[in-house]
Symmetry: C2
Subunit: 336 residues, 2 copies
DNA sequence: CATGTTGACTTAATCGATTTCGAAAAGTCT
DNA sequence: AGACTTTTCGAAATCGATTAAGTCAACATG
């Protein structure tokens, strides 16, 4: 590997001069600097990020903490899109991405320790159990942190507009004439609570009453649970005319159950999903859903984090709300 | 941050002694070592991976190179599962994962340079254009590399059994009585070529002739293209009784087209996918498909790489074939 | 001409951890 | 007691890059 020392020998200057020339310091003669840069290029010099990190205390490396309960990893398209987007934006600013995990090898470590161990300049946290003490330790630490879809007052957050999204969905189906709207929600998380609250609030605003049994519990990304919830809804004496699902993928379970019971979509019952993943747009009928702008979420999270890292003085915890948009498919029918 | 120096001051020993005690060297008195470890724990000492990397030339960091043409990133479940699995296995061996990209910030870099810059001990390459000069430069470099689903003779590879998988699928549908089997394949890659060759070979072995037009071209992960290909197949005078799709996701396009034309699955026509992603198993009817063991692929890739890194002497390029298995769903009907 | 000033480099310390080569102390053997 | 080992620990170099402080010559100024 070519180091700064190799270049200095070749150019008959000190290592300091080489470093300064390469970093464009002003106290180096223009010709000397040009020559050094030329030689560096010829020799195929590459700076060593490790040495630089050690000296400067800045790694230009961002940790990402994504944990999936199901441990199927990034199976959820929403999160894999966010990750990709974080990665792209981080790279644009000169940062690399490293996964932060709980342990590494035989050494037990918590998230904070891992991030410190790797000298991460900051961490992006998403899709985790935000009540986990290890997560709380991290967000309250000296490491700049940005959370996704969860607010800690110690750090900045990027949020999907769950309240607005759910309100828009409810108002949309209301506009289509639906008054008997059921909601199957995922496991209780802060996101779920927001959607649930927004569902109740919007229904109240619209004067829509929610009969007993119209709020059903299932899980995110779990068609089976949604199928069972759908079955329970269909067993009600007073069936809903519209069912809102926890997310697009889990809707598949509902779709199967409806099909099985000979209930047509949207002829007999209308449905809507949430997320706006690719799948929802290739199904026929196309699923009406609320698209979360994962790309923007990842981008804004990375931007916010880089901002904190590079201008720590000016930083104050800030929440960025990312709006989504309703994707009108063909699964919500207009009724009289 | 607590460093080795802090501990040495507190224990009245040299930094060398602390380092040795912490690393379990034998030339330190057992009691002294125990005391040092105790103090280290009390002070919350964490080793600094950067300093260690600089000194030892080993980063315990593995680069992963995943590029998706669609730039939708890790949208393909097969790859996100592999990534997750690579990550888990790497962590088990004490390695972290960093994404390798083409440029970083304003600095233009190729993959090799990026990996060197970050001192990656090795790189795992998947889902890229293997004819890209930058990729070729990387796999032929001094950096240990493991490729997925592609063989270079300069490095080890982990391969999904595309030949065996396709053969098993064909034999399965043949066993169900099908003799008119169409195959819609994805864009031409080495994987596609293997499946295509295996399709032809297996058909030949079984004495099945492949009429004009039964081999159709579409794309991976692209329901639209598969839908169009399906339409072309349905327009044939002599329709196939069974269609094999490029992958499970793109089958959705075929499903829509069949539905639209009133062709029932599997009543009128049988179908099978490839991959065995979660979606295929929650659709009704359940899709018959060949499951690629993404989890094993990621695990073996990580193991192979760690092996090369830690025992470079004994290393010889090796290919590991990961078998998949047929997931029998309800989309292939028995015909007389 | 003595004194400042500026430009262009270099010296040397530093970041945190590891490791080679000693060195002192203690123990062993004849 | 003298010679040799063994045990236990430390001094100092090292990895590659950065930078504060210092040097020295050339030049400007009153």
């Amino acid at each position: 590997m070519v180091t700064i020392t190799d270049i200095s020998l070749r150019c008959n200057v000190s290592r300091a001069t080489v470093s300064k020339a390469l970093n464009g310091h002003s106290d180096i003669n223009a010709e000397t600097a040009a020559h050094i840069r030329q030689v560096a290029k010829e020799m195929g010099y590459l700076p060593n990020a490790t040495a630089r990190t050690l000296k400067l205390g800045r790694s230009h490396n961002i940790g990402v903490l994504f944990v999936d309960k199901t441990s199927s990893g990034l199976s959820h398209e929403y999160f894999s899109q966010i990750l990709e987007s974080v990665k792209q934006e981080a790279e644009r600013s000169g940062y690399d991405i490293t996964f932060i995990s709980r342990d590494i090898g035989a050494v037990p470590m918590d998230y904070y320790e891992h991030a410190k161990y790797r000298n991460c300049d900051g961490v992006i946290v998403a899709s985790v159990d935000f009540t986990d003490p290890a997560v709380i330790k991290l967000v309250n630490s000296d490491i700049p942190t940005v959370t996704l879809d969860y607010v800690f007052d110690s750090c900045s957050a990027v949020l999907s507009d769950n309240v607005g999204g759910m309100a828009e969905l409810v108002r949309y189906v209301y506009g289509k004439g639906h008054r008997k709207i059921a909601f199957i929600h995922g496991e209780i998380t802060s996101v779920t609570q927001k959607r649930l609250a927004s569902f109740h609030k919007t229904c109240a605003e619209l004067g829509v009453t929610i009969p007993e049994g119209y709020i059903e519990t299932a899980n995110y990304h779990d068609p089976k649970a949604s199928g069972l919830a759908t079955r329970r809804l269909l067993a009600l004496k007073d069936r809903p005319t519209c069912i809102l699902y926890p997310d697009d993928f889990s809707f598949i379970g509902g779709m199967n159950e409806l099909e099985k019971q000979g209930v047509s979509i949207p002829g007999d019952i209308s449905v809507a999903g949430y997320d706006g993943i690719l799948l929802s747009q290739v199904l026929r009928p196309r699923l009406t859903t609320y698209r979360q702008d994962a790309e923007a979420m990842g981008r804004e999270a990375a931007r916010a984090l880089v901002e904190i890292i590079e201008r720590p003085k000016e930083w104050i915890p800030r929440q960025t709300m990312i709006p989504g948009r309703l994707l009108e498919g063909d699964t919500v029918r207009t009724i009289q």
